[in-house]
């Protein structure tokens, strides 16, 4: 593992060396062929450069079946080997073992959200070290891409479908998660972290976070949901302007609407905005908020409202 090499980031999962081995094999094969081609090119230019008064080299061959067959068959064999190694490695890294620990991944613009088997949802991917982990991924809006460079792990995350990947992380540490399928304005900001922990530490974190949630007040829960559901991407709490109206001082105020008229931002309005966001859009904002229909339960909505009330 370690800091990575010239070409590659650190290899932090069991699948990474599989990929890296093939990477290096292809690299050196390509290097050899490249040196051969460019070398011959330079050699021929130097040797056969036209000089005044030079003798004719004589008639040159127009074709040579043996040679042409050779330079067809050898590359065929080489690419055949590369293909096979690629395919074998791919089957390795995409077939999860039976006892994998399953975590659900939800991608949305522009945030990752991870749901653990005990129902906890978090912004980062905590995993136990040295245990196979299976991710079941879906998106709530557009296609995203889940990419952990250090694990050599990547897969598109598609709305309306579940896609599965797996990995076994090595030592404890943190690793970047990037979004690799262009998804709009916040595509480059859609980061998260894989936090690999000792199995004990991992369990402690999981239990601790779950119980903190269970004992959390509605306001604390609401604030947490503000982050994990992605509200924070478009609604600030400090008054800063963003894609959506700021929540600072929003609750209870009278908001003007697109198309005329206004409404008081009470419980009903907030609930409606979460479930049917384009029904009443605040004046001056685009009707682009996605619906959370089916993604939030009533207690969640209540918690968000409770939190919103505290943002003055």
């Amino acid at each position: 593992m370690g800091n990575g090499s010239f070409w590659l980031p650190p290899a932090a999962s069991s699948g990474a060396p599989v990929v890296d081995r093939l990477f290096h094999f292809i690299y050196w094969t390509a290097f050899v062929f490249f040196v051969l081609v460019v070398g011959l090119m330079v050699l021929f230019v130097l040797r056969y450069r036209r000089r005044p008064g030079q003798k004719d080299h004589g008639p040159a061959p127009t074709h040579n079946t043996a040679l042409e067959l050779t330079w067809t068959i050898i590359p065929l064999i080489v690419v055949g080997v590369i293909f096979y190694l690629g395919f074998a490695g791919f089957m390795d890294i995409s077939t999860p073992p039976q006892n994998a620990y399953e975590i659900q991944v939800t991608a949305m613009r522009w945030k990752w959200s991870f749901t653990y088997p005990n129902g906890l949802t978090d912004e980062d991917l905590h995993v136990p070290a040295d245990q196979p982990v299976r991710l079941v991924m879906t998106s709530t809006d557009v296609i995203h891409g889940f990419f952990v460079p250090d694990f050599r792990l990547k897969h598109d995350v598609v709305p309306g479908r579940y896609n599965t990947v797996w990995f076994r992380a090595g030592k404890p540490g943190t690793h970047d998660i990037f979004c690799t399928q262009y998804c709009g304005t916040g595509h480059s900001e859609m980061h998260a972290q894989v936090i690999v922990q000792n199995p004990d530490d991992f369990q402690k974190w999981l239990d601790g976070a779950a119980s903190a949630l269970a004992h959390a007040s509605p306001v604390e829960l609401g604030e947490r949901l503000y982050h994990t559901l992605g509200c924070a991407q478009c609604h600030s709490v400090d008054g800063a302007s963003s894609t959506g109206p700021t929540w600072k001082g929003l609750y209870g105020s009278k908001v003007p609407l697109n198309g005329g008229g206004s409404v008081t931002a009470d419980e009903n309005y907030v609930r409606e905005s979460i479930l049917e966001p384009n029904a009443k859009v605040v004046l001056g904002y685009a009707a682009i908020m996605p619906t959370y229909q089916g993604r939030v339960k009533d207690p969640d909505v209540a918690a968000i409202i409770a939190y919103m009330k505290t943002v003055k």
Binding site: E102, Q104, T115, P117, N118, G119, V136, T138, T140, P159, G160, Y162, T164, E276, P277, N278, A279, A287, P290, T291, Q293, G294
Partner: protein, 260 residues
């Protein structure tokens, strides 16, 4: 005036060139529709129940009439080419006119079908609001993606159950019974069928119109005596185009109307 050998050669070259060009152009049209047929195949194999259910909203009678109309128009078009070849100008003009008339009938019947769909709310995508069923969702709200529920049982997989199979074959009646206590279950996403139906028949109708315009141009040129037994290539080529338009419909009709 005697025609020189060079002129004969050039004329033949010109004729052969434009024939080849038209055949290649027809290949591009086949690929254009091929994409739609491909989409049809993908959706039908993934959700046969939608197609079995929804196709009964189409009128086999009207579709059948349209098929006969187009086949007749191909016949008159082929005869028109023959007439051009034989220098029979009046016949050529008459046959071209009949072909255009057939095209108009086709479009008229298509128009009736489309109007029926409109009245019954059987349209594509979000506009699918069949008159028997209630509207769902407020206007303007994007439909939420329907996903199987998340399980809170750590041992249960989050993967959805295997795709539900077809919800039973439809009874033989030509129209489904209006919503009632013993109505059969309606598959989800029926609007997919209508999206494909309108895309395919709509694109085809555009090509019918284009074909009619081309035949119209031929008609005008025929009236102006611009064709002769040695020079009727444009009629020939337009005929080829029209036959393709006909052939495409001959595939569309069973795929959309005659699903079993």
């Amino acid at each position: 005036m005697a025609v020189t050998e060079a002129e004969v050669r050039e004329r033949r070259e010109g004729y052969e060139s434009s024939r080849l060009g038209m055949w290649i152009f027809l290949a591009t049209e086949i690929l254009l529709f091929g994409g739609l047929f491909c989409a049809y195949a993908v959706y039908r194999s993934n959700h046969p129940e939608i197609f079995v259910y929804a196709h009964r909203f189409l009128s086999k009678t009207l579709g059948g009439i349209n098929t006969i109309v187009l086949i007749c128009s191909s016949f008159t078009m082929a005869w028109a080419v023959r007439a051009a070849q034989l220098g029979e100008r009046r016949r050529l003009v008459a046959l071209l006119a009949i072909t255009i008339f057939c095209g108009l009938c086709f479009l008229g019947i298509k128009g009736i079908e489309y109007q029926q769909k409109w009245r019954h709310g059987l349209l594509w995508g979000e506009r699918y609001h069949p008159v028997e069923h209630e509207k769902n969702g407020a206007a303007g709200t994007p439909a939420a993606i329907q996903m199987p529920p998340v399980s809170s049982d750590p041992n249960r997989s989050f993967l959805p159950l295997a795709a539900e199979g077809p919800r039973g074959l439809a009874p033989e009646s030509s129209k489904p019974a209006p919503g009632g206590a013993d109505a059969e279950p309606v598959p989800k996403n029926v609007q997919t069928f209508f999206g494909i139906y309108f895309a395919m028949t709509g694109l085809h109708a555009v090509h019918v119109i284009a074909g009619m315009i081309l035949i119209g141009v031929m008609l005008v040129r025929a009236i102006r005596r611009e064709f002769s037994p040695t020079d009727f290539t444009p009629v020939d080529n337009v005929g080829l185009y029209w036959h393709l338009v006909d052939v495409i419909w001959i595939y569309l009709f069973p795929f959309l109307y005659l699903i079993r």
